[in-house]
Amino acid sequence: MQDAIDESSRVDAAAGRPTSMRVLVIEDDRETAQFLQKSLKESGHAADLAGDGETGLSLAETGVYDVLIVDRMLPKLDGLSVVKTLRTGGVRTPVLILSALGDVDDRVKGLRAGGDDYLTKPYAYTELLARIEALSRRAVPEEQVTKYVVGDLVLDRLSHRVTRGGEPIILQPREYRLLEYLMKNAGQVVTRTMLLENVWDYHFDPQTNVIDVHVSRLRSKIDKNFEKPLLHTVRGAGYMVRDGAG
């Protein structure tokens, strides 16, 4: 699927994880919840479980969590109400809503209720992990960041200028936004779907490897004439901008 550049820059998906997160999983299906708990633990995060909306709400209100994973359909109190109540109570913990409902307006409803991201079942665990890791970063208001720096690659958000090793790199507007998103989540896996949703605002599966082609174009601009690759492909997951191949 990918060409030679990808092979050389392949990194381990588990490498370079950000600091460990404390995650609350509010999900009524025990097996799913336990799978998530185990997987998160293996990824270096701690996860608590809540089997219904009320328990989940009272746990989440303690505010000790970095990220909440909330299923939409829950006994006692549904997921959207949990999120709404939390937001009304001033709890700003990032929320990823899980749902079997995948219509675009379901997503809009989820985000309107105060969710930060929305993932449709069935999902790949790597997708979920990438998303909650991206969410945990959101605690820093991104408007205040004027510059992203990864190694010798610098993206200036005020002048929209990109340089590497001091040399200017000319990017198309879309390429700029792609790099901006990747650098904002530097050190973290960014899935193709995340790129599709956040850079293009498309909520569908483009079927062909369009994202890969866009990324490989971007890579040819920022990595081609430099010894050390910064834009890495994470097999089975997505991409990562990172200084050093580990």
């Binding site: 699927m1 995948g102 219509d103 675009v104 307006d105 809009v108 449709t120 069935p122 999902y123 790949a124 790597t126 879309r174 293009w200 498309y202 909520h203 569908f204 599966d205 483009p206 079927q207 062909t208 490897n209 369009v210 082609v213 866009h214 174009r217 097999r235 089975g236």
Partner: protein, 467 residues
């Protein structure tokens, strides 16, 4: 059970027969009433005629007696009483001895004061019916004036017999007719029932036979057949859909399984296992994508747009999607022409329209490559606003889709053979078609000579309406 029994049993429980029997009964009762009334009236009239004749004669006799005494009454009786005539007389003195008349004796039925009917013997063995009025004169003599009504009695008897016979005949004929008509109707209904039963048992190709008489039953059968056609269509549609779903999920599932098995069997070092597992995850992701696409199509088919629409510039949306795919086209050596300006503004679900346009372009990329010697592929994207609609046209120079397959390609969950070997869910056109339907638009697949020209037609927002 004999044939007749069965006939009878089914006849008694059948609606047409019961209706026939009921109408015949009603008819017979009414007819009997009318005939009975007629009979009674006629009888009355005849009796009245006879009685008034008798009364006149009695009056006449009283006059004779008052004027000339009982001797002249005897004379008059002698003159009138003929042995075989209709007039009957018996004149007796005070002791009851016969003085004149053609009756041999006072009938026992008329011993008392009143008149009435009685039987007498005209000749030996000839018993006849008669009616008589008695007269008691002041000198104690008694006269009985009578009339022979045997002929009326015979007439009445004959009438009764004729009526009874007629009614019996009518009843029998009516019942037989009802039974026959019912049987005829039942046969037709039985045919319909038999056909329904075998259809219920699963033979959807069966049809209700028509009698060709163009009557109500034929109409019913025709409607049933049309209903069956529709059901068969829906059923085969459903079967096709589930077959397609099964195929589309089974193939990647078995591929997934084969990969896992191959990884296990081939063994090797940690890296080999890792590579195998990574490929398995990729495969599983493909499966999830297919599944999501199916869910989306199913949901669009069942869904409504309410609440999810917004106004946006279709031109810029189409340009954006084309630009999104441009690197892929570039990479694959396909030429892309985008002839799309700004506008028109439409009210629709922006995400779904993006997806539909993306699918059309994606489709053109996958299948729009000319055959081996065909040279460079060209894909053109254009927009054509018409009166009430806007057409989004994506055309390629590939082999196209044969006219027969075009309609099928737009159906739910249908993958044409060609798509099964290409990456992707193969549900692209199904989805475009579902999006179009949801927006009250259409999709046309046309010959681009050579190539395929897909036209997505969306209604333009009408002034003053918002979805």
């Amino acid at each position: 059970m004999t044939v007749l029994d069965r006939l009878g049993a089914s006849a008694w429980t059948s609606t047409p027969f019961r209706l026939a029997a009921l109408s015949i009964a009603a008819f017979l009762i009414t007819a009997a009433g009318i005939v009975g009334f007629l009979f009674w009236q006629t009888n009355n009239l005849l009796t009245e005629q006879v009685l008034s004749g008798l009364r006149a004669e009695v009056q006449e006799m009283r006059h004779i007696e008052a004027a000339a005494g009982s001797a002249s009454v005897a004379e008059a009786v002698k003159a009138r009483a003929r042995p075989e005539g209709p007039g009957l007389y018996f004149f007796a003195d005070r002791t009851g001895r016969k003085r004149a008349g053609n009756l041999s004796r006072l009938p026992p039925e008329l011993e008392g004061e009143g008149g009435g009917t009685f039987r007498y013997e005209r000749q030996a063995g000839d018993q006849r019916l008669a009616v008589a009025l008695p007269v008691l004169f002041p000198d104690g003599t008694r006269l009985l004036v009578g009339r022979d009504i045997e002929e009326q009695r015979v007439f009445a008897n004959r009438m009764r017999t004729v009526f009874l016979l007629g009614f019996s005949l009518l009843s029998v004929a009516g019942l037989a007719g009802g039974l026959g008509a019912g049987r005829l109707l039942l046969n037709r209904i039985d045919q319909i029932n038999a056909a329904s039963r075998s259809i219920m048992a699963g033979d959807l190709t069966q049809r209700v036979p028509l009698a060709g008489s163009n009557d109500e039953l034929d109409g019913l059968a025709q409607n049933l057949n049309m209903m069956l056609d529709r059901i068969e269509q829906l059923m085969s549609g459903l079967r096709e859909v589930s077959d397609n779903i099964a195929h589309d999920l089974k193939t990647p599932l078995s591929r997934l399984r084969n990969r896992a098995e191959a990884t296990l069997r081939d063994g090797g070092d940690c890296d080999a296992y890792r590579a195998g597992l990574e490929r398995i995850i990729e495969e599983a992701d493909e499966l999830i994508k297919t599944f999501n696409a199916m869910l989306l199509v199913a949901r669009l088919e069942a869904g409504a747009l309410e609440g999810s629409t917004e106004a946006f510039d279709l031109g810029s949306l189409v340009r954006d999607v084309a630009e999104f795919y441009e690197p892929v086209l570039d990479e694959q050596g396909l030429e892309l022409t985008v002839d799309v300006g700004d506008g028109p503004e439409i009210i629709a679900n922006r995400h779904l329209v993006s997806q539909a346009v993306a699918n059309l372009i994606d489709n053109a990329i996958k299948y729009g490559r000319p055959d081996a010697a065909g040279g460079a592929g060209k894909i053109s994207v254009s927009l054509r606003p018409l009166n009430h609609v806007v057409e989004i046209i994506v055309a390629d120079r590939g082999p196209g889709i044969s006219a027969d397959d075009r309609e099928r390609a737009l159906k739910r969950f249908v993958r044409l053979e060609a798509s099964r070997t290409k990456p992707g869910t193969g549900l692209g056109l199904s989805l475009v078609s579902a999006v179009a339907r949801l927006h009250h638009g259409t999709v046309r697949l046309e010959d681009n000579a050579p190539g395929l020209r897909a036209v997505l037609v969306l209604p333009l927002a009408r002034q003053g309406t918002s979805a």
